[in-house]
């Protein structure tokens, strides 16, 4: 479906990643946002609260992040594309209801403009320390999809993809920005509405009498009935059967939760996205994401000038992780180098997938700034020996 032109601010703009993220959401058709102020994400909701009354959207500043997340799950049940926006401490507070969204299978987008942690940490300074939390933060077995943009333009573009894929798999999508991308101002080109494809909610075609809310289709995704259309369905965070009725049994848990996880695991190849550059014949492969991918460009140029064969995997979708590709490369290269603004998170995933065939070397920055490209270059040189 073509995007609703009301939400698309066609033109060439110069604004920061937070604004670009907000514009991307509106272009994608987001019409409900609940949020709570937190640096460095606040500009996203400031942009939205200014534009929403003009485009048919509703913004509400809730009393906390628990409420914000709960509200977008509720709003999404009306078929309205919904989003909340936060940073680390708020992300922690949202975790329980992210689990609810996963369990109820509600499409929604959660933006986390990452800052340094733990706890209150570095409110105004960059971090990439929530990347594992995005994957594992809520309790129980579930899978998520997480994006990681490296520029304001990409924040705009990927926001549309994030909303679309949330609809396709009826799942919460984590949009893992970082403070640098959020506060960096660059050129952002917003195309015409008719050039933007949005995925509408997949409503059931069954009548209320024959509809069951959790009967999966061939992609393991159930059809959706929205609140207020006469379906009188029931949904719960409890383990449930195809009627959406709670059932506390081993059998039901097996069926309900295994499908929930398989829905994304078995479709992972369709979701995984990364850019790959010069990995053929490379000695070292840099695995990178977010702002660190931008910083690493300089390091890559430096070492290539010195004749080092370095390839790059830049993750656009961080979760699900490109497990197979890392495994294939591991048998052919000397080492992976993983620069991250944390003390080692995604490097663990690279290490797991490399399964001992190639070491995964972390270049850690503890947060508050980005890497010195020379540190990344040194690590690559060392790994290439």
């Amino acid at each position: 479906m073509e995007a609703d032109p009301a939400g698309v601010l066609t033109g060439v703009h110069y604004f920061d990643g937070d604004y670009a993220c907000g514009e991307g959401a509106m272009a994608a058709g987001c019409r409900f946002v609940a949020g709570y102020p937190i640096t460095p994400s606040t500009e996203v909701v400031e942009r939205i609260s200014q534009r929403f009354p003009l485009i048919g959207g509703t913004f509400i500043q809730m009393e906390d992040e628990l409420a914000s997340m709960a509200a977008i799950v509720g709003a999404s049940w009306t078929g309205t594309k919904s989003m909340t926006v936060t940073s680390g401490p708020g992300f922690s507070l949202m975790m329980e209801n992210i689990g609810l969204a996963a369990m109820m299978e509600v499409p929604c987008v959660v933006v986390n403009v990452q800052r340094g942690g733990p706890s209150t940490g570095l409110p105004t300074m960059v971090g990439q320390q929530d990347i594992m939390q995005a994957r594992w933060g809520s309790h129980g077995d579930y899978e998520v999809i997480a994006f990681s943009p490296q520029s304001p333009q990409e924040a705009f573009n990927l926001m549309i993809d994030a909303f679309n894929i949330a609809e396709v798999y009826r799942t919460p999508v984590m949009f893992m920005m970082d403070e640098c991308v959020g506060h960096m101002s660059e050129k952002v080109v917003i195309p015409k509405a008719e050039e933007i494809q949005v995925v509408p909610r997949k409503l059931t075609t069954k009548s209320p009498d024959e509809f069951l809310p959790y009967v999966p289709d061939e992609n393991l995704v159930p059809d959706f009935a929205r609140a207020g259309d006469g379906y009188k369905f029931h949904t719960t965070g409890l383990t449930h059967d195809e009627r959406g009725y709670p059932e506390m049994s081993v059998r039901c848990q097996e069926k309900c939760v295994r499908r929930l996880v398989d829905k994304l695991r078995l479709n992972a190849d369709k979701i995984i996205r990364f850019e790959e550059e010069k990995t053929e014949g490379a000695d070292v492969v840099l695995v990178t994401y977010g702002i660190t991918a931008r910083v690493a460009r300089m390091a890559i140029d430096m070492v290539r000038k010195k004749g080092v064969k370095v390839g790059v995997i830049r993750l656009i979708v961080v979760w699900p992780f490109p497990e197979k590709r890392i495994r294939e490369l591991a048998g052919k290269i000397k080492a992976f180098v993983v620069p991250e603004i944390n003390y080692g998170q995604l490097v663990l995933e690279v290490e797991r997938c490399a399964a001992g065939k190639a070491p995964a070397i972390l270049v850690s920055h503890m947060g508050g700034g980005v890497h010195n490209p020379e540190d990344v270059a040194d690590a690559i040189m060392e790994a290439a020996k």
């Binding site: 048919g56 409420a67 709960a70 509200a71 078929g79 309205t80 509408p200 929205r226 207020g228 369905f233």
Partner: protein, 300 residues
């Protein structure tokens, strides 16, 4: 103490509220002598008598004994997370403004873990009917102390008796700005039903507290007898005082329970204020979310 008597032979008939209930989920999980079923039956009757559009009515519950209510009503029913029924309901209502949204949950859920949402939603006067079954304890988890437990009642986490000061929830709701506040015991089924009906047809933040016996835990731990004994207690110790100053309606341990309709005022709701404000500031440029919701419709 009450006696258990054999049930007389009766013919099989459909429950009068069957059209409003998920009969395929009956029997419910509530204990014999519990008051939640009474409140649910009154709500079903109120739905019938108020003639609200059931297709456009949603019920949202949190977690706990009363939190199971959403699962028994034949409506769009949402059983959410602990304490978050109100903000979830806000999302439903703002996402599709034409919906009637009812929150049906317990005291621990709504004013314990969910207290922040309760006060802010009342402050904004958001369009929500909140029915709170107050059984003075966390019953689902085994009778722990609640923010409503009167002193010095015993609970499983206050085995020597509660020394904390409880909430007077009716006063909390009223002082935060609720448009409608009432309280009934589970014995007052007709008045409770009338209140539900009245509140279903009203706008703004409407709060109804239902005092309910918890025979299995609260009553047992405090040696108050069975459900029927508590009903007798309500019969002998309830005073109806419409329009009472909510400062005077706190509930003491086995003390007189003041019931009635305490607040019923007209004031602009959150959405009315929002629409009026944006229309004034933005004029024709204001585009509100349509009543049927913010779902995208457009060309394929």
């Amino acid at each position: 103490m009450s006696m258990v008597i054999d049930r007389p032979e009766t013919e099989e008939r459909e429950h009068p509220s069957a059209p409003f209930l998920r009969m395929d989920r009956i029997p419910h999980i509530w204990c014999p002598g519990c008051g939640i079923g009474v409140a649910l039956k009154c709500f079903a009757t109120a739905l019938e008598e108020s003639k609200v559009d059931l297709d456009k009515t949603a019920i949202v519950s949190g977690i706990g004994c009363s939190g199971r209510a959403a699962g028994y009503m034949k409506l769009d029913g949402f059983h959410t997370t602990h304490g978050r029924a109100i903000p979830f309901a806000i999302g439903l209502k703002m996402g599709r403004p034409e919906l009637n949204v009812v929150v049906f949950s317990g005291d621990g859920d709504l004013v314990g873990i969910g207290g922040n949402h309760f006060i802010h939603t009342a402050r904004r006067n958001q369009d929500l009917l909140v029915i709170m079954v107050n059984n003075f304890n966390y019953a689902m988890t085994g009778g722990q102390n609640a923010p409503t437990t009167p002193a010095p009642a015993k609970t499983s986490t206050m085995p020597y008796g509660n020394f904390e000061l409880p909430f007077n929830v009716a006063h909390l709701a009223a002082s935060c700005g609720a448009a409608y506040v009432a309280r009934w015991t589970c014995l007052q089924v007709r008045r409770m039903t009338k209140s539900f009906k009245e509140a279903l047809l009203k706008k703004g933040f409407r709060f109804i507290e239902v005092i309910a016996p918890c025979a299995t835990l609260y009553a047992r731990l405090n040696k108050l007898g069975l459900g029927l004994d508590l009903m007798r207690f309500y019969h002998e110790n309830t005073e109806i005082r419409h329009g009472a100053d909510t400062r005077d309606v706190a509930i003491g341990f086995q003390d007189k329970i003041i019931c009635g309709k305490f607040v019923d005022i007209e004031k602009p709701t959150h959405s009315e204020l929002m629409h009026a404000h944006y229309r004034k500031i933005l004029g024709d440029r204001y585009m509100p979310t349509p009543p049927e919701g913010g779902m995208l419709r457009g060309k394929d």
